[in-house]
């Protein structure tokens, strides 16, 4: 899928509830074409996330559980991993722990995705070297793209 660069600035009536995608949102320069892997068991969510990230200039793909995701991550060595916490077979925490054992995985950039917002989850993420934590309900897709850019630039 080719990213579109022609979206117009359409401010909605409230000016806030629906954040509009604009040409400025498209990743450019250093972070364009960066590889992003999304590991989440919910296919509906991964579909829209992959589309959004692809439209935004990244190369995104998804894996629908921790086991497949970890394998794919170690093979393709993406620039960033978006990792869901609650998944069957292998949870996000387990996946992260196993990833950190690997020589490449040790320093791989990871953003944790979760539906929960417990403070202890945030603390856990910090311990595992993932400083960015996204509570899905609190973020719009555009805010996620912003966060992704921010992490890729650090």
């Amino acid at each position: 899928m080719e990213p579109q660069t022609t979206t117009q600035d359409t401010q909605n009536a409230d000016g806030k509830d629906v954040v509009q995608s604009t040409a400025q949102d498209i990743a450019q320069g250093d972070i364009a074409k960066k590889k992003i892997l999304i590991i989440d068991d919910d296919e509906n969510l991964t579909t829209v996330l992959v589309d959004k990230l692809n439209f935004s200039g990244f190369i995104a793909e998804s894996a629908n559980d921790g086991v497949v995701g970890l394998k794919k991550a170690l093979e393709t060595k993406p620039d960033l991993i978006l990792l869901d916490v609650i998944m069957p077979n292998m949870s996000g925490w387990e996946t992260l722990e196993k990833l950190r054992i690997d020589a490449w995985g040790e320093n791989a950039k990871v953003i944790m995705l979760t539906a929960l917002d417990k403070p202890e989850s945030v603390a856990h993420a910090m311990e595992q070297g993932s400083t960015v934590f996204i509570v899905k309900t609190n973020y719009t897709l555009d805010q996620i793209v912003e966060k992704v850019k921010e992490v890729l630039l650090t």
């Binding site: 909605n12 806030k16 509830d17 439209f55």
Partner: protein, 454 residues
């Protein structure tokens, strides 16, 4: 034991009667012996002291004998009385002690029955923690017969997961520290594990005077499972309810972004409405989960430096569409305070957002809302007030306004006001959980002022 006691009591009563009878006989005999002299004396009282120191009809010797017998009589009565006192006091003491012993043995019997049949499992342990015995309930708890637990160390029944705690409790007990309501997992028969709340009182062995422990083992397994189920429910609900809402949120956003092709105005309008309703649903789920967390007691409070004016401005931006729609005029009386309050920002936001939303929702069109921030220097108490010029709360409803699922009678007049009856309940619960308080003054058709004190 009881018939024996009755016999003793009977014996004591007989003894008491015999002593009393003997005393009466001695007394009567003394009286009988001395009375004739006294009567004689009073019958012939002609005493002429002028005629050679003699009484008529009586010699001086007679008078001496008579006086002596009166003295003797008095002595007999006195001695008898003393003997009576001595003997009866001992039998009386015997009787009293017998009654007391009987009372005690009844009390002891009742205590033993209570211990044995109490629904709470009790165990007695020696100074090393070895089990000396247990009541029926304790045997039922462990699913054993007395021999199976006798002489085994109580603390060795600690489940693998709580071994460390078990060792610590044993050390506490050895160091004479009382143990109060410690929650611990214990191993029961056939490797079952039960949750127990244990308390250990220090006592002394009635014979050896050595240190003993009376252990109460309160079975809280059911309660623990329930707590666990509740916590899991909230976790599950928050995950399962939110995931589809997030999906709708992101897909709507994606469709509306034109990245998949431009939509016409009507289509965009529809999508915006879907998006807004979905956002309301996300908020409602959030409220319900917070209510559950409060009721289950798993609401975590993390206090940190919080900038209240900034937080309020953020909330006002979020509520901009509602404010514009009702043309509400906002007044801020911030007085440059509360920029650095120690509070939980997430929870404080829930409170303030609810208060401001209510002030808008139940206001009249073109009404005003005043937000005041105050800080009492010295005592460090901060307060946040939200006043409106709206419906107010009817007098009859004021004492129930913070009750769960309660809605004031006059809010039904507001056609568009969606109300769950959870907002103020949540506000009060959260405020109190954070150690603050909430109060209000209100007059129907004039408005309300809610004040949060931190």
């Amino acid at each position: 034991m009881q018939p024996q006691g009755q016999e003793t009591k009977k014996g004591l009563k007989t003894k008491h009667a015999i002593i009393s009878l003997t005393i009466i006989i001695i007394f009567t005999a003394g009286l009988y012996l001395s009375v004739p002299y006294v009567i004689d004396f009073f019958r012939n009282p002609q005493i002429d002291l002028g005629q050679g120191y003699s009484f008529e009809g009586y010699s001086i010797l007679d008078i001496q004998v008579m006086l002596l017998s009166i003295l003797l009589y008095t002595a007999i009565v006195l001695i008898g009385y003393i003997i009576y006192l001595l003997l009866t006091s001992s039998t009386r003491a015997g009787l009293i002690s017998e009654y007391r012993t009987k009372d005690l043995s009844i009390a002891k019997f009742q205590l033993e029955e209570l211990y044995e049949n109490s629904p709470v499992p009790y165990l007695t342990i020696n100074k090393n923690g070895e089990i000396k015995g247990g009541n029926k309930s304790a045997l039922r708890f462990f699913g054993v017969v007395p021999e199976e637990i006798s002489k085994k160390n109580f603390f060795a029944f600690t489940a693998e997961e709580d071994k460390e705690l078990g060792d610590r409790l044993l050390n506490f007990f050895k160091a004479d520290s009382p143990i109060d309501k410690q929650e611990i997992r214990l191993i029961t028969k056939e490797n079952g594990v039960k949750w127990a709340s244990i308390s250990i009182f220090l006592t002394k062995d009635s014979v050896t005077r050595e240190k003993n422990g009376l252990v109460t083992v309160f079975d809280i397994t059911e309660q623990k499972h329930l707590d666990q189920a509740k916590t899991e429910f909230v976790s599950l609900a928050s995950h399962q309810l939110r995931t589809p809402l997030v999906t709708i949120k992101w897909y709507t956003e994606m469709l509306n972004s034109d990245q998949l092709g431009a939509l016409n105005e009507k289509q965009k309008d529809y999508l915006n409405k879907m998006y807004l309703v979905n956002t309301e649903m996300i908020d409602l789920v959030e409220v319900l989960l917070n209510v559950s967390r409060i009721e289950i007691g798993t609401l975590a409070i993390t206090k940190q430096k919080t900038n209240v004016p900034e937080m309020i401005d953020g909330i006002l931006v979020e509520l901009a569409s509602q404010i514009d729609k009702k043309k509400i005029v906002f007044q801020k009386r911030y007085n440059d305070v509360l920029t650095n309050v120690n509070s939980d920002p997430k929870l404080l936001r829930i409170i303030i957002q609810n208060l401001i939303t209510n002030a808008i929702k139940y206001n009249k069109d073109g009404g005003s809302v005043t937000i005041s921030l105050d800080e009492k220097s010295g005592i460090g108490q901060s307060s946040i007030s939200v006043s409106d010029t709206g419906l107010g709360i009817p007098k009859d409803d004021q004492n129930r306004i913070f009750s769960k699922l309660f809605r004031a009678a006059n809010v039904k007049d507001v056609s568009n006001a969606q109300s769950t009856g959870l907002g103020l309940y949540l506000v009060k619960s959260v405020a109190e959980a954070m150690g603050g308080s909430i109060s209000f003054v209100s007059e129907e058709n004039a408005g309300s002022t809610f004040t949060l004190r931190l």
